[in-house]
């Protein structure tokens, strides 16, 4: 039995005539200790998928199993890095992280928790901004706070919804390594949503594309057979890397093309000849 299992998941938003099925027939299983990346087009339902896994949303049909148990609620075992940071604007950086660690480690002393806050804020290089409020930070800095907050809770599984999207290349690289470090150190399980194929290849064991919506479903998986620890500079010369990268990009471009033609078809007017009036 896999660590995380999604069986025949469907997710519909809205009811009656307004109902749109965003995700259809999603099947996914992730083993303990694995690092899986999902790449997908914007609006295809990646965040929806993440919220189904972390317990914020319930599937319309199908089941999510975490360690064999159905997911019915959120849990400290599954840490989430939200796409839109979701920091509380009235708290400082330190307070935002502190709130999380206090909930995750209710028995620890205050000073231990504060040290933990400092460690994780330092990890994302935000120590100088620890007493600032989110409004005073740049988008990238906010995203780093969100990373620190999720990782500081020491979750078994890390669920990341485009966590590094707004970062410059250098910080992005550093944080990728930091996340990989934490993941490999205690053998966590990780699910990364990303729109950057290179990031997926650098970090993940498997890349799974999410087809464009509506009715988005998962495409065929691509295994990344590159030994860890991976070296960013050497990666470019790795034949395996080139092959996988090309295969994924080709696939994505293909489904991107088909999306275009599908959306064109949608605008073709149906035949509405008034034959039913006669009959």
């Amino acid at each position: 039995m896999a660590y995380l299992e999604l069986n025949n998941i469907n997710k519909t938003y809205g009811e009656g005539e307004n109902a749109t099925e965003v995700l259809s027939d999603i099947n996914l299983s992730i083993e303990e200790g694995e690092f899986v990346a999902i790449v997908g087009f914007t609006g295809s339902g990646k965040t929806t998928l993440v919220n189904l896994i972390n317990g914020l949303l319930k599937p319309s049909s199908g089941e999510v199993l975490f360690k064999g148990e159905p997911v019915v609620d959120t849990s400290h075992e599954r840490g989430v890095i939200f796409q839109n940071y979701s920091l509380l604007p009235w708290l400082t950086v330190g307070q935002n992280v502190y709130m999380a660690v206090k909930e995750a480690f209710p028995k620890e002393s205050k000073s231990t928790l504060q040290q933990r806050v400092r460690d994780y804020v330092d990890m994302v290089s935000l120590t100088p901004a620890i007493n600032k409020r989110p409004k005073e930070l740049s988008g990238g800095m906010r995203q780093r706070v969100a990373v620190a907050r999720a990782l500081a809770m020491n979750p078994e599984m890390i669920i990341m919804d485009e966590p590094l999207g707004a970062l410059d290349a250098l910080t992005r690289g550093n944080l990728q390594d930091e996340i990989l470090n934490i993941w490999s150190k205690d053998k966590r399980t990780a699910l990364l949503i990303t729109n950057d194929v290179d990031e997926g290849i650098y970090m993940a064991d498997r890349i799974i594309p999410l087809k464009p919506g509506p009715n988005a479903t998962l495409g065929p998986e691509f295994k990344i057979d590159i030994e860890r620890p991976r070296d960013k500079t050497a990666l470019n010369d790795n034949p395996n890397y080139k092959k996988t990268r090309n295969a994924i990009i080709e696939y994505l471009m293909d489904i991107g093309e088909s999306r275009k033609s599908v959306s064109q078809e949608e605008f073709v007017l149906p035949e509405i000849a008034p034959k039913s009036f006669v009959a």
Binding site: L56, T74, L88, I130, N131
Partner: protein, 366 residues
């Protein structure tokens, strides 16, 4: 890299003075000075213009009424009476002055008269307290009530009573509206249960609130001879003004950003924590907007309610002066009008400062 982290809210008790400090610290930038001079200049010019128009207007009204009086004396009693009337009006004798909109100068002298009166009454009071000190000590020793000064209230006392009433009413509104607003904001079913109630009672006028409170308080105080005018008026003010806070609180609590709720869920905050650490802070700006409206409504309805409740405040003062019809009554009414306006303005500024302090969407202190 040793960096002190503060996990509590920074304690800057005087942070609210920051805007003032910024305003009054001279910044030597030519553009700033010129623009602020210009602003002050425009304000001064507009005040002068206002006073000028007022002066001319009151003069015209005065002349109109004077001419009518003389004309009336002429037609009813003949030339001699008309001349006497004209002389009387010209002499400034108070018995025959036209009683109309007072001029700025009259209002100014009325203000000074009221202040002088306040000084006299204060001195009176002090003398009385001194005189009665020994007697009162004895009375208290005998277990009787001390004798207190029951003379006329001075204008300053009246203003203070009004302020006291409005703050008591505001506090009552806060204590009722915020908790109820939070509760109905949290529960959609309670919200619909309360909705008709809010919609029906919100538009009720201050006079009717007063009558309602009067009915109830009168019965509660039955057999008690003490003065309940203050109680009646502050309760009426509170009930009349609390609706904005109630509605805003409920709205703020029920419309908390979904992202924050998701954070609370992912961190698995308990209900108490969720309400006090996430929902309330995020609705504070709306709650304070409501409180600001409540305070200004409270001040506005106060005058009418004090009048009805016979509470020794500005409302009653204005009404009594109007009934009184004395020579300087009109001027006193205008003084009261300005005092009411200025205090209302200051109260609103106070709330605005508080509101800016709690609003995390603005840069603090700017």
């Amino acid at each position: 890299m040793e960096q002190e982290i503060t996990l509590k809210k920074e304690s800057q008790p005087l942070a609210f003075l920051k805007p003032l400090v910024v305003k009054f610290t001279p910044k030597f930038q030519k553009g700033d000075i010129i623009s602020s001079l210009k602003k002050t200049g425009i304000t001064i010019v507009s005040i002068l213009l206002f006073l000028g128009l007022w002066h001319l207007g009151s003069k015209a009204l005065y002349n109109k009424e004077a001419a009518y009086k003389i004309e009336k004396a002429l037609t009813e009693q003949g030339q001699a009476a008309a001349d006497a009337e004209r002389a009387c009006i010209a002499s400034g004798d108070s018995s025959c002055q036209p009683n109309t909109l007072p001029s700025p100068a009259q209002v100014w002298s009325s203000l000074q008269a009221l202040i002088a009166d306040h000084k006299v009454i204060t001195a009176d009071k002090a003398a009385f307290v001194e005189k009665m000190a020994e007697t009162n000590i004895k009375l208290v020793e005998q277990g009787k009530d001390a004798i207190v000064y029951t003379g006329r209230a001075s204008f300053v006392d009246i203003v203070l009573t009004s302020i006291k009433t409005v703050f008591a009413g505001f506090l009552l509104a806060l204590l009722i509206a915020v908790p109820i607003g939070v509760i109905i904001g949290l529960s959609p079913s309670l919200r619909s249960a309360f909705n008709w109630f809010i919609q029906v009672f919100k538009p009720v006028s201050p006079v009717v609130w007063y009558l309602l409170v009067f009915m109830i308080v009168k019965t509660l105080y039955i057999g008690d001879s003490s003065d309940n005018a203050f109680v009646i008026s502050f309760i009426s003010v509170g009930l009349c003004a609390m609706w904005a806070t109630l509605v805003n609180t409920a709205m703020g609590v029920s419309s908390v950003d979904k992202d924050y709720i998701n954070v609370a869920k992912v961190l698995k905050l308990g209900t108490f924590q969720k309400v006090f650490k996430v929902i309330l802070p995020s609705s504070l700006p709306l709650i304070f907007t409501g409180l600001r409206i409540t305070l200004s409504v409270a001040w506005m309805v106060l005058i009418a309610i004090e009048l009805l409740a016979q509470s020794q405040g500005l409302g009653l003062f204005v009404w009594e002066e109007f009934q009184n019809g004395a020579n300087d009554s009109n001027a006193k009414i205008i003084v009261a009008m300005f005092i009411i306006g200025i205090i209302g303005f200051l109260l609103d500024r106070l709330m605005l400062t508080v509101q800016n302090m709690v609003s995390f969407n603005k840069n603090e202190g700017v």
